[in-house]
């Protein structure tokens, strides 16, 4: 027996002898922990998810780009310059010389034309971004052409605001793919889609090395990149979904950057000299959608009262803890024409008065479909507490993302608490979502958020449509300011916060840039000591 115990102790001490983990991450490689399980495809004509957007933003070139610190400054990338015809309907781009794809093929105007036509023809989730310009499967061959190697011509159906067209080309669907390479992998007329879902055919600063779904994404530098080779020769992104695990990996130096730290982790890492924080306001807002099918919520006084019943600062400070700021307009800060007025604050007395005027001095009961994530649940609980002070009994109905969303899309909710991320960098993206609803019937063709909440924004629909045709940028800005003001005052949306992305970065890592959209989170300029 004694022998056995001795053996056990010996065995344990052997098992716990330091197994010496390997050294820190190499100097010319960037290693990140990031929740990348939302990547479902690597084809830029299909990518419509946050991590996917970041992948295509680092690996593909687009025609147009913008300054991530001032998005009103638009510049050419693959397009060196462009002209817009007198009638505003023809855009002619001059394609830059000397860009090569990873395959070695030169990038020509035909590749650019092919890439845009391909998006329209495949008609996958993000295709509507180009479809907005009257481009269809049937007409796109005639509307987007490459008369010579350096010239790309794109015709749109209406004289849109030039900024509208150009911003849409900065989106992921504007990524230029290698026509020759892609078509070599075509199967059953799919324009190489099946293949490109897991492969790479671009010309960006990084190339795909390997994607293992739910596990890791690894990139290698394109040393021949036309705009200068990146310092990091490899980028390895490891799917780590648990924030606490990300924190430990970062503290130990096993990774350079942790991308999904939550309030607890941020607090724990504060004051750690080895770690810096990189912050950036994103194009995402948290809001409440109030269904106008509900008799209480369709009362304008009630809607106004609810806007005074949110503890904006409390939630931003404690629940979001730096991952969001108070923002009450539907256009996130950083967008052309965004309004940063936040007129509402928690005011229970005022809300009570409004409820009395509405005819509900004793309040009422209402339900809220709440996604089971920490932040959203905590926000809903805070709302429940403040609404109770005004006599409103809020019942929280928890569910996972799929459940709550299914109900929301079917217009079966009372209140939905959610996040909305912009689809592209032009203000129309959110205006056409929050302030536009051409048909409020149950079987409408277009189902924007205004529709989901059964709200007819009346003349705002026309104003939204007019704003994309306004070619004077200042006038256009004014139109969006006006729309935001109206939706804020009358709309069934309580927009509360704008998301801030925060990354924890080891102090020896420099120039990791976060941009306003995930496409703009760039690894290109990163250096390490």
């Amino acid at each position: 027996m004694r022998k056995l115990i001795a053996g056990l102790i010996l065995g344990t001490s052997l098992a716990t002898a330091p197994l010496s983990a390997m050294a820190d991450t190499p100097k010319n490689a960037l290693v990140m922990a990031f929740s990348i399980d939302d990547i479902i495809t690597l084809d830029p004509a299909e990518i419509f998810e946050f991590s996917g957007a970041e992948y295509s933003g680092n690996t593909y070139d687009r025609l147009i780009g913008y300054d991530i610190d001032d998005v009103s400054k638009i510049h050419g990338v693959v397009a060196e310059s462009w002209d817009i015809s007198e009638d505003g309907k023809t855009f002619t781009f001059k394609i830059r010389d000397g860009i090569k794809f990873a395959s070695g093929n030169p990038l020509t105007a035909e590749d650019a034309a092919f890439s845009l036509r391909r998006v329209v023809k495949l008609d996958l989730s993000p295709a509507f971004i180009l479809g907005q310009f009257g481009l269809t499967k049937d007409n796109v061959d005639a509307k987007i052409t490459a008369p010579d190697e350096h010239t790309l011509v794109m015709e749109v159906d209406k004289p849109y605001a030039p900024t509208f067209v150009l911003y849409c080309l900065t989106a992921g669907v504007g990524s230029i793919v290698d026509k020759k390479e892609v078509m070599e992998h075509e199967k059953d007329g799919d324009m190489g889609h099946e293949w490109l879902k897991t492969a790479y055919a671009g010309s960006g600063p990084f190339e795909l090395n390997k994607w293992t779904p739910n596990e890791s994404l690894s990139l290698v530098a394109n040393d021949d990149y036309w705009d200068g080779a990146p310092a990091m020769k490899r980028v390895i992104i490891r799917n780590v979904t648990e924030a606490a695990s990300q924190q430990l990996l970062l503290q130990k130096g096993d990774i350079d950057i942790a991308r999904n730290l939550e309030a607890d982790q941020l607090a724990a890492l504060k004051g750690n000299d080895d770690i810096n924080f990189q912050k950036r306001a994103k194009g995402t807002v948290w809001y409440l959608g109030l269904s106008q099918k509900n008799e209480y919520l369709s009362n304008p006084k009630v809607r106004e009262a609810l806007k005074y019943l949110v503890d904006y600062n409390g939630i931003a400070d404690t629940i979001l803890a730096g991952r969001g700021t108070v923002h009450q307009a539907f256009l996130p800060d950083g967008f052309l024409g965004a309004s940063n007025d936040n007129p509402y604050k928690l005011d229970v007395e005022k809300a009570k008065e409004l409820l009395k005027e509405a005819g509900y001095p004793d309040g009422f009961s209402v339900t809220m479909d709440t996604r089971n994530t920490t932040a959203i649940t905590a926000m809903a609980q805070s709302l429940q507490a403040t609404w109770a002070q005004a006599g409103i009994n809020l019942e929280i109905i928890p569910g996972d993302g799929g459940q709550t969303l299914t109900k929301y899309r079917a217009r079966q909710h009372d209140i939905y608490i959610g996040r909305w991320g912009a689809d592209y960098q032009d203000p129309n993206t959110n205006a056409s979502t929050f302030a536009w609803n051409p048909d409020n019937s149950d079987d409408a063709a277009a189902k924007p958020l205004a529709w989901r909440n059964s709200w007819d924004p009346k003349e705002m629909t026309a104003e939204t449509e007019a704003a994309i045709l306004e070619r004077d940028t200042q006038k256009r800005i004014d139109m969006y300011k006006d729309l935001q003001k109206k939706v804020m005052a009358e709309g069934p949306f309580v927009v509360m916060f704008q998301e801030t992305e925060i990354s924890g970065v080891r102090s020896n890592v420099h120039n990791f840039k976060l941009g306003p959209s995930f496409d703009d989170n760039k690894y290109r300029f990163v250096t390490k000591d």
């Binding site: 027996m1 056995l4 056990l8 098992a15 716990t16 330091p18 197994l19 010496s20 983990a21 390997m22 991450t25 190499p26 490689a29 290693v31 922990a33 399980d37 479902i40 419509f48 998810e49 008609d123 996958l124 989730s125 993000p126 295709a127 509507f128 479809g131 879902k197 897991t198 090395n209 390997k210 293992t212 779904p213 739910n214 596990e215 890791s216 690894s218 490899r234 390895i236 490891r238 799917n239 780590v240 979904t241 648990e242 695990s245 430990l248 990996l249 130990k252 096993d254 569910g399 996972d400 993302g401 799929g402 459940q403 969303l405 299914t406 109900k407 899309r409 991320g421 063709a445 189902k447």
Partner: protein, 355 residues
């Protein structure tokens, strides 16, 4: 205790079927087929009854209605339910579980990729659990009612009742952060992940096949903590069962006879009694192994371990129904398989079962 006794009885009954004349083999085969078919039906129905929309998972929340409608049709969701089930079963019989929305890969390819990670973890966990759990159980039985017995039982109880999530984080905090004895989350250091070409998918085997000793030790230092955590979980169960089996044996007459004959106490306990306990223990170990194979979801989350548990959870959260159904069917098949295997072993080890 009562559950295990019934498992043993069931085991004997099934074992007897195997040994009977040809007809009983057919009966076993048909019961496996019926079980499997029931599994398919239940998982399919759960997948369709859940109030979530797989189309949204595929196209995202922002997609237009036209895209939504087209994908819905492509996914076959326009068909009546019975027809969908028919299509599903006939596909499964052809080895086709459909494509995962999340990875754009056939579900079977995905499972073949993630399963080895779970297999490796669960196997090591079970080995550690058996190596520690069986002697602890014997130790407790021999000292029944005295402090070593209580100690083992408390140790086991803690392992059984402690939230595995908390225990995992504490383990990381102590052994990885503070003491630096083991490596952190992941199967190897993040940087090395894409240097390994999976041959078997088992990291410990692949690194050795590549002849990369450094990487092998790196993988060992990554697996030791999560495997120990799982081991602690199964150890509690194994030790408890070993203890009660041993107590049963030690009260038997042949033990008394052996003592009278003057055989050493060590020999009596470790050869005679344990030898007999080994038979029912096989079922216990097999069940706990099967449990680890499907039940390590939280461990896989904390340790960023890309295995089957993480795959199914993630698929479920994202309404990736093909992947959920495929994964569940595989887990079910593993259970059926392990059960059959333990019955078979039981029959081989215990001559009485063959009677």
């Amino acid at each position: 205790m009562s559950t295990v006794t019934s498992t043993r009885r069931g085991g004997r009954k099934r074992a007897r079927l195997l040994s009977g004349p040809g007809g009983s083999v057919v009966r076993v085969a048909s019961s496996v087929i019926i079980t499997f078919f029931g599994l398919l039906l239940v998982t399919f129905l759960i997948g369709r009854i859940l109030p979530i929309d797989p189309v949204i998972a595929a196209v995202g929340d922002h997609a237009s209605e036209a895209v939504y409608a087209r994908v819905r049709e492509e996914m076959g969701l326009n068909l009546p339910l019975w027809q969908q089930f028919f299509v599903y079963v006939s596909n499964v019989l052809h080895g086709d579980f459909g494509k995962s929305i999340l990875t754009s890969q056939p579900v079977l390819t995905d499972i073949a990729r993630v399963f080895p990670a779970t297999l490796e973890l669960a196997t090591l966990g079970t080995i550690i659990g058996v190596i520690l759990g069986v002697p602890l159980g014997v130790f407790a039985a021999v000292h029944k009612g005295k402090w070593p017995d209580h100690l083992v039982r408390i140790f086991g109880l803690v392992g059984y009742s402690m939230p595995i999530f908390w225990l995992g984080l504490m383990g990381l905090l102590v052994f990885y952060m503070k003491l630096d004895w083991v490596a952190g989350p992941g199967r190897v250091d993040a940087f090395y992940a894409d240097f390994i070409e999976p041959t078997t998918g088992l990291m410990l085997v692949d690194t050795l096949l590549d002849g990369d000793i450094d990487l092998f030790w790196n993988a060992v230092s990554h697996i030791i903590l999560p495997a120990s955590l799982l081991a602690y979980f199964s150890l509690a169960y194994i030790a408890r069962m070993t203890r009660s089996f041993m107590l049963e044996q030690l009260s038997q007459e042949y033990i008394l006879a052996a003592r009278v004959k003057g055989i050493s106490e060590f020999r009596i306990i470790w050869r005679h009694a344990l030898g007999n306990v080994m038979v029912p223990l096989v079922t216990v170990i097999a069940l706990s192994y099967a449990n680890l194979l499907e039940g390590s979801v939280l461990t896989e989350t904390i340790f960023a371990w890309p295995g089957l548990g993480l795959y199914i959870t993630n698929s479920l959260l994202n309404a990736d129904m093909n992947a959920v159904l495929g994964g569940t069917v595989v887990v079910g098949a593993v259970f059926i398989g392990v059960n059959m295997l333990s019955d078979l072993l039981y029959r081989l080890l215990d001559p009485r079962a063959r009677r």
